[in-house]
Symmetry: C2
Subunit: 392 residues, 2 copies
């Protein structure tokens, strides 16, 4: 038996934490540290880390657990109370980046040919940048005492809907990229998948509510939830050809209604993720970010992608705000607040690579754009809030 995987896993855990400490010292998000660990220890750098079958699978489980957690952390009450305003902001905030970032990719890499494959590749690239990560914004708003403002709550609701629309877009793209060329069949599969989620959801929610009534604090509930989450991921992928992470997200969304066990389950998932699986995922994205493949073309594309990623969210969400009669200042703040991308963007990129829709050589550009968006958000947000009138 070869024991190298123990060494590799140890290096992943230790290096992501060392780089995490370093990036924290200069006030960068921990994700950046974990990505850097993968870049520095991987093929681009010292070459200590290699991608093995075990690593690939552990990383995928990491993605699945993250998406489940995103689902189960959804505040259903808030989602139901969401008004037209937040929905319009979310829709425009998904589709403007989809068009702009996708269009940029098309212009650069598709030679002007409107084939189905080229459009699908471009749409995949666009969908990477359609998913907002709101945690950095929440932190910044909280720090400035603006989280409970009207603008702040609208922003949070919009981010919730943004997640769901993003997931639906990803499902559609995944279904189209899974080899089946007949668009009607693909649409049928997607519809069947959502019907499946609905039926399973109704049953499983009841079963879990019943179990949770007495045993909500039992280890068993958390393990059952993980089993269910993996099963949904498998079914989404193997039966319907939509992404496994879509299945995981909906598994989480179904269980977010089991109020009694919800927090306990989410906590156990979080511990298991950060102990092993999430570091492996981030490090593996870093490892794939092969800087040696970088050339002039990709560098120019990367810089334009950063601009497109940032501006498209500001424009999309800002237009949404204006359309719903928010003030220009409020619209700008909402737009900037939705700029940051993080885990979900990286997961969609990972998914695109697995599906053969994103060329791994583009990954450095994607990682750069994701990191830049996360770094720029708090800076821009503070400027926009402090330079304008008092935020309502």
């Amino acid at each position: 038996m070869d024991y190298t995987y123990l060494l590799l896993l140890a290096v992943v855990l230790l290096s992501t934490k060392v780089f995490g400490v370093l990036t924290e010292h200069v006030h960068l998000p921990q994700v950046v540290g974990a990505l850097l660990a993968g870049i520095v220890m991987g093929p681009s750098g010292f070459g200590v880390l290699q991608s093995t079958d075990f690593m690939v699978k552990a990383a995928e489980i990491g993605v699945i657990m993250l998406m489940f957690t995103a689902g189960i952390d959804t505040d259903m009450k808030e989602l139901k109370a969401t008004g037209v305003q937040a929905s319009v902001i979310a829709v425009l905030g998904v589709f403007v980046p989809l068009l702009l970032c996708g269009g940029l990719y098309f212009a650069f890499f598709c030679g002007g040919e409107f084939t189905a494959y080229n459009l699908l590749r471009s749409a995949f690239m666009g969908s990477v940048f359609s998913a907002t990560s709101v945690s950095i914004t929440v932190e910044t708003l909280n720090e400035m005492g603006k989280l409970k403002s009207k603008t702040g709550t609208t922003l949070l609701s919009a981010a919730l809907i943004d997640d769901i629309i993003g997931i639906v877009v990803l499902s559609v793209l995944s279904a189209f990229s899974s080899g089946d060329s007949d668009p009607v069949m693909v649409m049928v599969r997607i519809v069947l998948f959502f019907a499946f989620v609905l039926v399973v959801g109704l049953v499983v929610r009841r079963v879990f509510s019943y179990i949770a009534e007495e045993h909500w604090h039992s280890r068993r509930v958390a393990v059952w939830a993980l089993g269910f989450c993996l099963l949904m991921s498998y079914c989404a992928e193997a039966w319907f050809g939509v992404a496994d992470i879509t299945g995981a997200y909906f598994a989480g969304l179904i269980l977010c209604n089991v109020t009694k066990a919800r927090r306990f389950v989410a906590k156990k998932f979080t511990v298991t993720s950060y102990m092993v699986f999430t570091p492996v995922f981030f490090a593996s994205v870093g490892m794939k970010t092969n800087l040696r493949d970088m050339n002039g073309d990709i560098l120019v594309f990367a810089l334009l992608l950063v601009a497109a990623a940032v501006l498209s969210k500001v424009a999309g969400c800002g237009m949404g705000g204006l359309a719903c009669r928010m003030s220009r200042h409020q619209s700008l703040v909402v737009g900037i607040g939705m700029v940051a991308r993080s885990e979900v963007a990286l997961m969609v990129a990972q998914r695109g690579i697995n599906a053969g829709m994103i060329d791994p050589s583009i990954l450095p550009a994607i990682v750069l754009a994701v990191i830049s968006s996360a770094l720029l958000t708090p800076v821009l947000l503070k400027m926009a809030i402090s330079k304008g009138p008092e935020l309502a």
Copy 2:
């Protein structure tokens, strides 16, 4: 990409929990349920579960995390306060089962040939049954209000030392079975390993104590501990040819001195273990327990092994008690209290199979003996305590 591993993992998690509920209903330990799940869903039963590379590695990480937890849960104060009595009980409690169960194997499967290979195989089989699992006894004594009695505390101390001697024996056997035929070199490697543990221990304990001073409740400490644990497992295996689980146990033993972070780290390990890795380990032992290989010989051997496993601990520990001037009744209670085997025995068996020292066809007998010992302990213990004089 093949997503079957998600399905397999889901089946492992769900089936071990379903069988766990069933065995709990008839007051059997959960481990029995998890083993049964592996037997029923594996090649012996429905054949749904197969052993894949991912499963094998996840199971090994499960073993490593269990051994680390055993190490970090060691109560150093109690260990230091342990008297001659507990030590004598532990030593006899390790070596009598080693001789008796090993001898039984020799008599059955070695055709009377005293070759080094045969002796090593027999010793491996013996060492499987030298490790006590005291948790069932603790539960029983607690229930009867005898845990704080003199006999109870002696029993617990003896179980602590039992673990350490068992680990040392395993290291020696592993080192001898790792291909190097020169006994002097093997002894040198073992000595070097313990010197390595000592030096690393002194350094790492300081580093962790320093970090834990401020950050004992930070996720990072737990992840660092896991990194360290995996690194020690790898070094033990790859550099010194002693078992990876020995490395993991000593990693835990080193960190059990970091009083501030200890409980936090142990908790995070426990959650990560029971969420994913431990069920995979137990199910994989169950899967290897191929009942279709059973024949008359192995069945007879299995029944004798049950008797040897139980009687050798009662005799060994009981003699230890008598030698230290405990009463006959106290000695009997101590002996019975040490009978139960569980995880550690299965881990050593797993290790023996990996090292080519235990034939997988014997596994059903081992699993039967381990389960029987765990089931008999509370019954015998209650009888011994209630039928004798008041326990001091």
